[in-house]
Amino acid sequence: MNPTVLLSVLLATPDSGSQGFDLGKMMAIIIASIFVNNFVLARFLGICPFLGVSKQLDSAIGMGAAVIFVMTLATLGSWVAYNLLLVPMGLTYLSTIAFILIIASLVQLVEMILQKFSPALYSALGIFLPLITTNCAILGVAVLNIDEKYSLGYSLINAIAAGIGFTLALILMAGLRQRLEMADVPPAMKGKPVAFLVAGIMSIAFLGFAGLGG
């Protein structure tokens, strides 16, 4: 099949049935998910790994890569399950249960496949994978895509962009926290409190993106 035709089929919205692929809408989704509605700093999704894994730059990059990977797969799985299984059968109220099961089994599957076929990648991402099941950013992006009635193509783009936004916040935070180690922080604010303060200041910076891309 012609790649452009394939792309337009993938990007068609399921409800309106409109065909064709809208570059403007795609860019708007990407900019909104990375900057304007940054998952960590504006939507408050995935705060636990954001604080837990941001002490070292290396582990932040590993976690970010694992999240982008699982987020994309989870979006694919949940979109297919919702639109091809739950909607035709009238079981949409089961979506929360279905999504969390898909994510949990997907994470398990990815872990086993990586262990078998790519030990190098497994040793890099392995320790982060079990944590991802309870990362609310993954379930969050799956639910958001359904709420926004995105087509499969837009859903996948949104998932990748959301993962990049998460990774960006995580890496920035890790860089800042490595510097904070050497800073003279008041004893009562050491550790978590100062991390939240830094996150707040970063969040102010991300407010500056408001209005960009609609």
Partner: protein, 202 residues
């Protein structure tokens, strides 16, 4: 006696938010108003009590190898229940809590209590623990939400406190995303000082 201890420890000594720093995502996201905080607290407490009850009841039946998926299914069932009931009877609250209702499933407090307490304690103690943790979580959210609503909007529970002059130029940032991070950081710092004072006295 241990029952009372299980009940009260969640409120201050092992407060899930301020002491254990769990359940941060809904905590930061829904504390824009006291009303939302109370709604979220009630929903999470209900799910917590039900899941702790069932997990504790079935703790000898569930094989330990598949316990996490079992817990997740139990929790997700009750979350779906809350979602549907709230959508039917409190549609406004349902709309303002948005995706954070389905996200109760991945709230680390609930899975944490199932894994860390309910699966090796009797039913009654587990329910007491859930009630305590639920109250602790709700209380923590109400504290942060009070600051945010008061500073950002001049109101508490939609009642005007600081007057219309303040409302014309409120500290808007408190209600925006950065306000949640910054205020929480000061509250955690305050609790650290409190804890240090207590340690010094003993």
């Amino acid at each position: 006696m241990t029952l009372i201890k299980d009940l009260t420890k969640g409120i201050y000594r092992e407060n899930p938010v301020f002491r254990l720093v769990l359940g941060m995502c809904p905590f930061l996201a829904v504390t824009t108003s006291v009303e939302n905080a109370l709604g979220m607290g009630a929903a999470a407490t209900f799910v917590l009590i039900c899941s702790n009850f069932l997990v504790s009841l079935f703790r000898n039946i569930i094989p330990s190898k598949v316990r996490i998926p079992c817990y997740i299914v139990i929790i997700a069932t009750f979350v779906t229940l809350v979602d549907m009931v709230m959508n039917a009877y409190l549609p406004d609250l349902h709309r303002s809590l948005g995706i954070f209702i389905p996200l109760i499933v991945v709230n680390c407090i609930i899975l944490g209590r199932a894994e860390g307490f309910a699966n090796r304690h009797p039913v009654l103690n587990s329910v007491a623990d859930a009630v305590g943790m639920g109250i602790g979580f709700t209380l923590a959210m109400v504290i942060l939400a009070s600051f945010r609503e008061l500073l950002g909007n001049g109101t508490l529970l939609n009642i005007n406190i600081l007057g219309s002059a303040y409302q014309n130029q409120p500290l808007l940032i408190a209600i925006l995303a950065p306000g949640a991070f910054i205020l929480l950081s000061f509250i955690l710092g305050f609790f650290n000082i409190l804890e240090k004072r207590k340690g010094g006295r003993q």
